[in-house]
């Protein structure tokens, strides 16, 4: 399943539609980095509002996406984790360590704008 990625100024917004298979996640990882390079984006928001499960593979892949994008000098923020999903994740010890998170798209954009405005 292709994850739609939109450009918003210097930022990219990837909106996950529903449950992603492992292949989808691997594909997303490659696609995001390529897009960041092509668009010379400063920041990426990955919106996982529609994901009702987050397993350890998904969590690891998202962490890898963030690390790879950071190597390109850009920031990644994950938004829209649902309360039930967050609860299940911490019980299983899946933490998304080292990745910035925010409540929703609005917060995510706010965060990125503040980060890059202050350094401008």
């Amino acid at each position: 399943m292709e994850v739609p990625v939109l450009k918003q100024g210097q930022f990219l917004i990837a909106t996950v539609q529903a449950a992603l298979t492992d292949e989808d996640l691997v594909h997303l990882r490659r696609a995001m980095v390529e897009r960041v390079v092509r668009s010379r984006s400063l920041g990426v928001i990955i919106d996982v509002t529609a994901m009702d499960i987050m397993d350890s593979f998904a969590s690891r892949t998202l962490r890898e996406i963030a690390q790879m994008i950071r190597l390109r000098g850009a920031e990644t923020i994950i938004v829209g984790i649902q309360p039930d999903v967050a609860f299940a994740m911490v019980q299983l010890g899946i933490t998304l360590e080292g990745v910035v998170t925010a409540l929703d798209l609005e917060e995510g954009l706010d965060y990125l704008k503040n980060k890059f405005e202050s350094s401008a």
């Binding site: 309360p83 967050a86 911490v90 929703d104």
Partner: protein, 304 residues
């Protein structure tokens, strides 16, 4: 020879069946007689019972009129159960009676007491009626006693079950009330926890908080545990999980009011204190939260 033996066995079985049927029929006939007697003497037996209830100082929470009304209903249900041999109607009545009297403060021993008194009153009236014929009295009691005991049991159990249901309901309400998630500023929530936290309450707390973070779009949460005396390792882990889950929703958690015992527990179980943002007391926690949110609190009338 074998055939004869078999024949004898068969007739023995027939005989047993005949006796069994006869006694069953006998029981049914006796019960009908019993029920008729109880119905005919309803007024005075009911009065006798009400008198005994008052003498035993039971149902003091209810007025005389109420006792009379309920006594009438119980008496009729009692006789009905004896007649039909089915107990669903009685169970339903016991539940509805319990719903009515539990809020009035009627206790279990009172309910059991009055049902046993009724059993005694009815038994005595049977003694009086059949005292001339001991054999008949014996058989009548054989029919009466199991049924009467089952009735007493049904009513008592119904009452106790209703009490337990009410207690569970109240416990649930207390649990809900005792973990309020309060918004004190834009994007700032406070969760004051008071009392004992068991794993179930901890879980409920976390769910309420996460929902509150999403609903109020909170960026900072202050969890105050001044009112919590102690927590074991399990609950401490729940607290850490709550902090982590809140972060996944983009909220920073500040924990305030840790007692020395709890501080000890957290250090002992090896909680990664780097993950936990703690401040001494609630006031300090709110002040830090305001700073994180970019508020500056200045006394009114002072030039900024």
């Amino acid at each position: 020879m074998a055939k004869e033996m078999a024949g004898m066995e068969r007739s023995a079985t027939w005989q047993e069946t005949l006796i069994h049927d006869a006694s069953l029929e006998g029981t049914a006939v006796l019960l009908r007689e019993l029920v008729a007697h109880l119905r005919q003497n309803r007024t005075q037996l009911r009065e006798e019972w009400a008198k005994r209830i008052t003498e035993a100082k039971l149902l003091t929470a209810m007025s005389k009129e109420e006792i009379f009304a309920e006594a009438t209903a119980v008496y009729d249900q009692y006789v009905e159960a004896l007649q039909t041999g089915t107990f669903e109607a009685l169970q339903a009545y016991a539940r509805s009676l319990s719903e009515r009297i539990i809020p009035r403060g009627v206790e279990t021993h009172e309910v059991v007491g009055i049902v046993l008194l009724l059993r005694d009153v009815l038994a005595r009236s049977l003694f009086a009626k059949y005292q001339a014929d001991f054999t008949k009295l014996d058989r009548i009691l054989d029919a009466y006693e199991p049924a009467a005991n089952r009735i007493a049991n049904t009513v008592a159990v119904g009452f106790v079950q209703e009490r337990e249901r009410v207690i569970r309901q109240q416990q649930e309400a207390i649990r809900e009330l005792s973990t309020p998630v309060l918004q004190v500023r834009e994007r700032l929530l406070i969760l004051p926890i008071i009392g004992v936290i068991d794993p179930q309450r901890a879980r409920q707390l976390t769910e309420q908080l996460l929902r509150g973070i999403r609903t109020n779009r909170a960026k900072v949460v202050v969890i105050d545990i001044t009112g919590v005396a102690a927590m074991d390792a399990t609950v401490a882990n729940h607290l850490v999980q709550t902090v982590e889950a809140s972060r996944l929703l983009g909220a920073t958690v500040i924990v305030t009011g840790l007692s020395p015992e709890i501080a000890q527990t957290l250090v002992t179980i090896g909680v990664d204190l780097g993950k936990m943002n703690t401040v001494g007391d609630l006031q300090g926690g709110i002040e830090q939260a305001e700073r994180l949110l970019g508020y500056k609190v200045v006394p009114a009338g002072v030039a900024s």
